[in-house]
């Protein structure tokens, strides 16, 4: 009943020898730098963001070393301030925000919806160039002395008082913002107009839904950041003192504008990771996703409500009590769609056939860490409690649970999951599982102590600290070194597998998405013939083409109501 018109080899047969694919279609540096193929552009992004991740990671390592001792182990305060600023700038603007959308999203969206490419392929290439030009400005800022404002660029420190390379860094981020905008635009238009016949909205993989939600944030949020940073640059370079308190300018205006983008930006990082997790869980439980529509709508819900909560970063900044209450209330509303997702993922495991392969380890790790991060978010949204923990290591730990525990786990899980599709090769499974576990352990050891540190009152962005905080800081640094190892491992075996890994079949797991219906790696045109979709998403039961045995019972009764979270 359900086959594609497209597809060559059934899952079990070996991949054809040296078929023409997007990797070997043509060679040479020009064929890469001038490509308009979304898959090659995704790989270009992969190279770029990996470099920036390494830079950000290097800064992180120095930060943790510095904090080994109370009086500062390594560098003076001036250098330390530059370190944490550059760590934040690199990781957020040049790694986390582009990571899943620009690498995995670019690669997968056309494949998942059965299109030959994104709607605007040249624009896509242009985005990559804009991204790198912006990055060049920022790297220039780093090598000519660095920036010491924190990644938040709060005025009036950034606009008047800082003597570091704020302008260059700000211009770099401004430029990079347009790369995000164009990528988001491309995705939205592609998802609207380029879907294959039969690929209705309710048949889209959740990954595409989350990318759609992310793109909305890109489109509507990023321009506000761009103009805000442009105003800071104008104040520094042209004396247009819009935020200048000496003229009567309001320092909170910058914060409003900045967080209007930068809070939803958190959802830019986490939403795609949720999408990845959803794909992985359905595939490795070999079961339809529980509550598909609820999960899809929750993605959009998070994107929209995410725009209404920004001032929860400003509860102690001097906003009015009434505004603080309104924003606190709205912040709690974001918890609802997030909770819906977590419950549905958990319910998906029910009566599944769960295998503990590497991507699944990342996905389960993601859920655990995301729940921790989300639950501590409740502390921060409760305005009364926020007064105490705001701007302390509690916040640092909270957002690392979301961004590293959530977004980076999702990104790595996704890379593993789609690696066979991207490269046509498998990675070493045992090593990869070990790396996933090392990462999980190292991560918790690094950041859990920081919750306690923050609760005890250690403020963030401190180059030196009172001696009573040392023990927990040493724990954190020890965890960070394990975490660092956890990041080195995948880089090594991924590079190894590109050449020596065993060849992957077109659908190794097997999974239900359209992207698995074409060969690995896919041909330049993605599909030999435009596919026609006739099946519902994540339906393993009615897919004989996957080569799986029939489940033992034909017709399960619907899941009964509550009590489910506890088992059955």
């Amino acid at each position: 009943m359900s086959t594609t018109t497209a597809n060559p080899p059934p899952a079990s047969s070996p991949p054809p020898k040296a078929h023409e694919n997007y990797l070997n279609a043509n060679y040479g540096i020009r064929s890469w730098l001038l490509t308009t193929d979304h898959k090659r552009i995704a790989l270009l992004y992969l190279v770029s963001v990996t470099i920036f991740f390494a830079m950000g990671g290097f800064f992180a390592m120095l930060i943790r070393l510095q904090l080994l001792t109370p009086e500062g182990f390594l560098v003076g305060p001036d250098t330390y301030n530059r370190l944490f600023t550059m760590h934040g700038v690199m990781m957020i603007f040049f790694f986390l925000i582009p990571s899943i959308p620009a690498v995995l999203g670019n690669f997968l969206i056309p494949l998942m919806i059965g299109a030959k490419d994104l709607a605007f392929p040249k624009l896509n290439l242009l985005s990559w160039y804009i991204f790198n030009i912006g990055a060049l400005f920022t790297v220039y800022a780093i090598v000519t002395g660095g920036v010491d404002t924190g990644w938040t660029f709060y005025t009036p420190y950034s606009s008047i008082y800082s003597n570091s390379q704020v302008s260059a860094a700000v211009i770099g981020i401004f430029i990079t913002g347009f790369s995000s905008i164009l990528t988001g635009l491309n995705f939205v238009v592609t998802i609207h107009t380029m879907r294959a016949p039969g690929m209705t909205w309710w048949r889209l993989p959740i990954f595409v839904w989350t990318q759609y939600a992310t793109s909305i944030i890109f489109i509507l949020g990023t321009p506000v950041l761009a103009i805000t940073l442009a105003l800071v640059a104008a104040e520094r370079l042209l004396h247009l003192g819009i935020f200048d308190p000496r003229l009567g300018g309001d320092p909170l205006l910058f914060q409003h504008l900045f967080w209007f983008y930068s809070h939803p930006a958190v959802y830019i990082m986490i939403l795609p990771a949720m999408g990845v997790t959803t794909e992985i869980i359905a595939t490795f439980a070999r079961k339809n996703l529980y509550g598909y529509k609820a999960v899809a709508m929750a993605s959009l819900g998070i994107a929209v409500i995410g725009f209404l909560v920004w001032a929860h970063h400003m509860f102690v900044a001097g906003i009015s009590i009434y505004a603080a209450m309104a924003f606190s209330l709205l912040s709690y509303l974001v918890a609802i769609p997030s909770a819906v997702k977590v419950f549905n993922w958990t319910a998906t495991l029910y009566r599944g056939s769960v295998s503990w392969q590497t991507p699944m380890l990342y996905a389960l790790g993601f859920i655990g860490l995301f729940v921790m991060g989300g639950m501590t978010g409740l502390f921060l949204a409760a305005i009364g409690a926020d007064v105490h923990v705001h701007d302390t290591y509690f916040v640092v730990a909270h957002f690392h649970y979301i961004m590293v525990g959530g977004a980076v786990m999702g990104y790595l899980g996704g890379l593993h999951y789609w690696w066979p599709k991207i490269t046509g090769r498998m990675y070493p499974e045992m090593l990869a599982r070990a790396a996933a576990i090392i990462l999980f352990v190292g991560f918790n050891l690094t950041f859990f102590p920081q919750f306690i540190l923050g609760y005890l009152g250690m403020p963030r962005r401190y180059a030196t600290y009172p001696p009573e905080f040392q023990v927990l800081n040493v724990f954190s640094t020890a965890g960070a070194s394990i975490l660092g190892l956890g990041y080195l491992l995948p880089i090594c075996y991924f590079v190894w597998s590109m050449r020596y890994g065993p060849k992957a079949s077109s659908n190794p797991w097997p999974a239900t998405g359209l992207e698995w219906q074409t060969s690995s790696p896919p041909p330049t045109e993605n599909f030999e013939v435009t596919p026609v979709v006739t099946w519902e998403p994540y339906d393993f039961e009615h897919r004989p083409d996957l080569g799986l045995p029939k489940p033992e019972r034909a017709r399960p009764k619907p899941l009964e109501a509550p009590g489910l979270e506890l088992g059955d």
Binding site: P77, N81, D148, T149, P156, Y161, P245, P251, L252, K287, N288, G291, Y292, K293, A294, F315, V316, A317, G318, I321, S328, L329, Y332, I336, A339, T346, L349, Y350, G352, S353, V354, S355, M360, I367, G368, V371, M375, F379, A381, A382, I383, G384, A385, D386, H388, D391, T392, L456, G457, P459, P466, E541, L548, P551, E552, P556, L559, A561, E565, G567
Partner: protein, 312 residues
Amino acid sequence: MALIVVAVFFSVLIGVGIFYLSFRYRRRPGHEVGQLVEGSQLLEITWMVIPFIIAMVLFAWGAKLYVTIRQSPSDALDVYVVGKQWMWKIQHTDGRREFNELHVPVNRDIKLTMISEDVIHDFFVPAFRVKMDVLPGRYTTLWFRPTKTGRYHLFCSQYCGTNHSEMGGWVDVMEPSQYQAWLSGGSNSESPEQAGQRLFTSLACVSCHGDLSGSGPGPRAPSLRGLYGSMVKLSDGRTVLADDAYLRESVLDPGAKIVAGYDNIMPTFQGVVSEDQLLQLFAYIKSLGNQPAQNASAAPGASATTAAPAAQ
């Protein structure tokens, strides 16, 4: 804390749920594919409504606490704080000034009125669970009531530049008697009121506002006696409360709010007086109290504030 309970409960719930389910339904021979499970609308609604209720309860709790934190009690002991890169300048109403250290009596509400001379700082005392940003160009307030004597950390927790991590100090909570001894023990610097009075003369405020010895208006401007905490009628018909923010604006931007019946003739003192001096001027104006009877009922809080130091 209810929050911790909720957080731990859900973390454990999900954690155990995941582990149990993924172990119970692990892949085994003969169990290669999961079964199709239909969604249940009832279940979806259930797990939307339950977290929503919990969230609203937490919100109400947090909001109530927040209101308490942000609303200073009216009879608190006033202390003025000026933040600058990278030190705290603290001025007590009784005249002592100190740096990076704050001495306060135990079991007494303390209200800090804070302003920054340069960038944004943040006054944070972890032991008291309070924190507030200190902004340039605008007063913010913070209050707490220490209940145990001792020395507590004071941090700046809004990043403010190179020596951000050094911009801290101690809060010394003392027995009232020790506190009195400490107050009188300092160098014999003049009190802020006296300094403010001197400024009032040297900046020639007297020439328009009068010397404030009587209750009548000055030659060209309203008297400031009893101004603080009263309601002022403006020329455009509005009535505003004469608080710190109002006084600050009236000195730095006199044209913004003009008292009914007077002309806009006052020059600005922007760049002429420092933040410290402004606070001294206000201390002087406050020390003149609310003598005129017609204002006493308008601002009971303010009269109590000014009365408090005198009582000690």
